[in-house]
């Protein structure tokens, strides 16, 4: 169908600006990626809201589903700073989001989705000077969904919704701090038939290992290249 109109699920120019991997490698990773970067979220949007909208692109009957959601946090305040990662079990589900969800509203903001090379420890934290996303440092406008005026004002407004702000205070920036979400079905967990302990088959991966591209990618700055 590419003859008449461009498909919306083609990778955009969203890219990790600090990445050292070449374009081709990145394209290969994205071509099977199950992870989405979701941007322009309100700071107050919860994971459950995200789950609700993004579950509309799941195909559980095909082995899919939402694996996990990783909320982007301000490095200093540990509060949501307007982006997240949504990880599915299948690539097709991530593509469906680009076609059907990217550019529509969540929590009354138009969100955008991009294929991502995959979550790595530490990537959930914003890398702006203030701790949040770079884009909010440059922002001149008033945006109630993102805590009012630019970086300075954000902290002033932080009191506004304490519950939301306190939610992630326990977030840690250490390996393994983020849950995997559950991997493939394994015979050894199926107690009904366990008679003998059997060794791991070579093709089995550790819990939560599935679907995470093992790319050697530097932490991206999610905004520097959005223009």
């Amino acid at each position: 169908m590419a003859h008449i109109v461009a498909s919306l699920d083609q990778p955009s120019n969203y890219k990790d600006s600090q990445s050292r991997i070449d374009r081709q490698t990145q394209a290969e990773i994205l071509a099977r990626s199950t992870t989405l970067y979701v941007g322009n979220l309100s700071f107050y949007t919860t994971e459950e809201q995200i789950y609700e909208l993004f579950s509309k692109c799941t195909t559980p009957e095909d082995g899919g589903g939402i694996k996990r959601i990783i909320m982007g946090l301000d490095r200093n305040t540990r509060t949501p700073c307007g982006f997240c990662f949504v990880e599915y079990y299948t690539h097709a589900e991530a593509l469906a989001c680009l076609r059907y969800i990217s550019g529509t509203k969540l929590d009354e903001r138009i969100i955008r989705c991009d294929l991502d090379v995959g979550y790595k420890d530490g990537r959930q934290f914003g890398r702006g000077k203030s701790g949040g996303q770079v884009r909010d440092e440059h922002r001149q406008d008033y945006d109630p969904g993102r805590g009012g005026w630019g970086a300075q004002a954000q902290r002033m407004e932080a009191e506004r919704r304490r519950e939301v702000e306190e939610r992630y205070q326990d977030a840690q920036n250490v390996p393994g701090a983020v849950a995997g979400g559950g991997g493939d079905w394994k015979a050894e967990h199926s107690q009904t038939t366990t008679t003998l302990k059997r060794g791991r088959s070579p093709e089995e991966e550790p819990e939560g290992g599935r679907g995470e591209p093992r790319a050697r990618v530097d932490e991206p700055d999610h905004d520097a290249n959005r223009m």
Binding site: H3, T46, E48, P60, M71, H138, V178, G181, S201, N225
Partner: protein, 864 residues
């Protein structure tokens, strides 16, 4: 945005490569974009350009036509006109009397069509048939050969073991081709239009029973519902054809543009379409079977397609009329083809009138006035909305995910809010009205989903006030159930306070039953110090909060068990509840927190699911039931969270899909409604579907794994054989050990896993049927089960109480389960059906007959 020098080395990533268009590519592009300004004006100019193009390149022209026809069906009549005109042109410097460009392109085009048919690319084939049909009216293609082409599609309908998907696609090729080529075919007395009609009608008649199960409006009391608001697509086609045939296809000109007729009639020898054989259905060669030999690969698209009709025929065209069918069909094609880009799709839908016969749609506001054409002059936006909603409500499943149709309507509203907005409002009101008249529960479910997502994109602005009078209806009336559900979905996408604010005062009251007074938060049963297990629970909670090791928590639970045993009757149930609720309590901050809590204590949870604390063991159904009930108790105010938690409990294999199915039938209403019921509602459907989809999805994935491993093994074996014979020249038959070596340990264990997973899949499906038998088809069921299926009761539904509606809904969900999972149920009908139907009494009453009949239609056993 600022551009940082340090990032310069990545610059190549964003550099636009200069693209040079060759003259050939330019020509191709011009043909593909033909007509976008004015197809009539552009026609001679484009024909000249093609004719003058050097060096001549027929294949590039053909390719452009092929793309144009199959990807922009609304332009087909104009492509036919272009090709007709090209029959008057010959290639530059060609000697007089040589074959025209048009003829050469047509000959080349034919080959492409053959390819579509061979690949069973049905839509492309059908659109090519349109193209040929127009060219037949233009006399460029021989009428006889066109007729034979249509017959090769109706011949498919005579096949044995014909699937409905294949039959309907072949039937549509024949029907739509005849609608367009009819004027020419009918003129030839040697060709029988009625033969084609008879073949189509014969097929339709053989699908009557299936049709009753997929109507968007339900009438349980009859096999042959006569419904105003539902139309089956093939029925529409035949009805339109009969009308056309009645007037010798005079109305074709009224339904399809025929721009080629402005060229002088083609008098030379027409092109004879070669005979075509529609190849037999592609079979799944992988053919992985279950342990008892059933085919585990489900076949979809096995149901007639019924579209809900919302508006009167003066607002949107009636699809059983020739013009109405043509319009509906064209709009559905646009919706399907442009699924890859909903924004472009919305634009093309709004531009559709320019490709239709003038006067089809009311002119846009601001456009020059035109004299309305009698019986036409339809409203574009209403027609588009009806078509999109009809397509998204097709049962059991729409072509695409619901969210596509929802996002498409959103784009339409963004493109033209003043005209599409009112059409959306009218559609909502029509659908809402149908809720009282038997709108299928699944359609109502999708309607609520669309409503909520749509409102979430447009500031939640809906005139809720107009539904306030319906608050006097009984709480389980479909209209009130819709209000609750729509609000629940809106809250999931937004938050409680926000939705509370948009509702009128009358709906905010707790006893209005529309929205809960409190936000749907967690409810930790042991929070109150007065709770007898408060202390015990606190001790567990503190350990978990302090991230104690699973072993330590287990040890603590064991000692707690010893302490509580003397005073507590069902100590294990209590401990499971305390543990699970404490974990959920710690994880209640967010979905991620929940995942973290669960993952940290997976060994503990798995032990609990086996009925133990610090030791593992076999699955214990009672323990698993306790775990699920604890979850549902904790999240009883938020059904969304119950669904999320159950999904992950299955993912982590703490419970199996069959456990969830069983719980849904036996324990769900007790926890969520406060009393056990023998009825099934939309929330139970969500739970059931999640469980069955999980079981089916696992089989699907494992099937793929096995296929990959098999392929690897085969390649390895082939290589080994090749290697052996190359080095030693030994007779392959003398070395039987080479081939079995293909079965690697990985493959063996993958096949074993596949066997276990299909067993689980069957068990989940069997448990579902058992559940519905208990609710609807055993001696002890409530008299309501029979009553609500009668015609008398249905006509009296204005006086129905909650129990009547709940029972009616249970019937509807049973039907939906049957049709939705029929591909699986067909495969497993023997094993699943035999056990469950053992409990169904042999004495018959109409309700039991209905139950059996639904099952037999589903599983393709027509005369059970």
């Amino acid at each position: 945005m600022s551009y940082h020098g340090r990032r310069r080395h990545h610059r190549d990533d964003y550099e636009r490569r200069e693209t040079y268009e060759t003259p050939d590519q330019k020509l191709k592009k011009n043909i593909i974009h033909y007509g976008e300004v004015d197809p009539v004006q552009e026609l001679p100019r484009l024909a000249d350009q093609i004719a003058e193009h050097t060096p001549a390149n027929i294949s590039i022209i053909t390719e452009a036509f092929r793309i144009g026809v199959t990807e922009q069906p609304y332009k087909i009549p104009f492509y036919a006109a272009l090709l007709r005109l090209l029959h008057d042109r010959s290639l530059p410097e060609a000697p007089p009397g040589s074959t025209s460009i048009g003829r050469q392109v047509l000959e080349d085009y034919w080959k492409g069509f053959q390819g579509f048919v061979d690949r069973q690319a049905w839509r492309e084939s059908r659109l090519c048939v349109h193209f040929f049909a127009h060219l037949t009216v233009a006399r460029v293609i021989s009428v006889q050969s066109m007729y034979e082409l249509l017959q090769s599609f109706t011949r498919v309908l005579e096949e044995l073991n014909l699937s409905h998907g294949r039959a309907s696609k072949a039937a549509l090729c024949a029907a739509e081709g005849l609608m367009i080529a009819g004027p020419a075919i009918k003129e030839d007395p040697s060709l029988s239009v009625s033969d084609i009609l008879t073949a189509l009608q014969g097929y339709i008649d053989s699908t009557r029973q299936e049709r009753t199960l997929v109507q968007p409006l339900v009438q349980l009391f009859t096999d042959t519902p006569v419904l105003e608001h539902a139309e089956e697509w093939l029925d529409c086609a035949v009805a339109a054809l009969q009308t056309l045939n009645g007037s010798d296809f005079a109305q074709t000109a009224d339904s399809y543009p025929q721009p080629y007729l402005s060229s002088p009639p083609w008098t030379e020898e027409p092109f004879h379409l070669p005979g075509v054989l529609v190849p037999p259905e592609a079979m799944d060669l992988e053919g992985l079977q279950t342990e008892s030999g059933e085919d585990a690969q489900p076949q979809k698209e096995e149901w007639p397609q019924c579209y809900v009709r919302l508006f009167d025929k003066d607002l949107s065209p009636d699809p059983t009329t020739p013009a109405g069918f043509a319009i509906r069909s064209a709009l559905i094609d646009i919706i399907d083809i442009f699924e890859v880009n909903r924004k472009e799709c919305a634009r093309l839908l709004l531009e559709y009138p320019k490709w239709t016969v003038p006067g089809t749609f009311k002119p846009r506001p601001g456009a020059p006035a035109q004299d309305p054409v009698p019986e036409k002059d339809w409203q574009l936006e209403i027609t588009i909305l009806e078509t999109i909603l009809g397509a998204s409500f097709v049962l059991p499943e729409a072509t695409f995910k619901a969210i596509y149709y929802i996002a498409l309507i959103t784009e339409l509203c963004k493109s033209s809010p003043q005209t599409v907005g009112p059409a959306v409002g009218k559609s909502i009101r029509k659908l809402y009205a149908l809720l009282s008249d038997g709108l299928d529960v699944e359609v109502a479910h999708r309607f609520a989903e669309w409503f909520a997502v749509h409102m979430s994109n447009f500031g939640f602005q809906w005139v809720w006030k107009e539904w306030v009078p319906d608050l006097v209806l009984v709480p389980q009336h479909p209209k009130r159930a819709f209000m609750r559900r729509a609000v629940e979905f809106e809250i999931r996408l937004s938050y409680h306070d926000r939705i509370m604010r948009i509702l009128p005062e009358a709906m905010r009251e707790g006893d209005a039953g529309v929205i809960s007074v409190e936000a749907p938060g967690p409810d930790y049963e042991y929070d109150e110090p007065t709770n007898q297990y408060h202390e015990s629970a606190q001790s567990v909670l503190n350990l978990i909060r302090g991230r104690a090791k699973p072993d330590d928590v287990m040890a603590h639970l064991e000692s707690l068990r010893n302490t509580l045993m003397e005073t507590t009757e069902n100590v294990d149930t209590v401990l499971r509840s305390i543990t699970v609720q404490s974990l959920l309590h710690i994880g209640s901050r967010s979905f991620s927190h929940f995942l973290n809590a669960i993952e940290r204590y997976l060994p503990l949870l798995r032990n609990l699911a086996a009925g133990h604390i610090s030791t593992s063991g076999n699955a214990n159904p009672e323990a698993r039931t306790d775990i699920m009930s604890a979850v549902a108790t904790f999240w009883r105010h938020s059904r969304h969270m119950i669904l999320i938690v159950f999904d992950k409990l299955m993912q982590y294999q703490i419970v199996d899909p069959t456990d969830v199915v069983a719980w849904t039938f036996t324990h769900c209403s007790k926890v969520t409604d406060g009393k056990p019921k023998s009825t099934f509602n939309a929330f139970q459907w969500d739970l059931l579907k999640a469980a069955l989809d999980k079981a089916n999805g696992r089989v699907m994935m494992q099937r793929r794994k096995v296929a990959v491993l098999r392929k690897e093994a085969d390649e390895k074996a082939a290589k080994a054989i090749a290697g052996e014979s190359a080095t030693m020249e030994v007779d392959a038959e003398a070395r039987p050990d080479v081939i079995p070596a293909g079965e690697s340990p990985q493959l063996t264990s993958a096949i074993k896993a596949f066997t276990m997973l299909t067993r689980e899949q069957k068990s989940a499906l069997a448990r579902t049927l058992e559940g519905f038998v208990e609710y609807l088809a055993v001696d002890s069921v409530s008299p309501k089960v029979l009553e609500v299926t009668t015609e008398h009761a249905w006509h009296n539904r204005a006086n129905w109480e909650d129990e009547d509606w709940e029972t009616w809904e249970t019937w509807c969900w049973y039907r939906h389960w049957c049709r939705m999972y029929s591909p699986y149920l067909r495969s497993y009908k023997e094993t699943i059906g035999a056990v469950a139907f053992d409990k169904v009494p042999t004495t018959t009453n109409p309700a039991i007959e209905l139950f059996r009949k639904t099952w037999s239609i589903t599983t393709g056993q027509h005369d059970l």
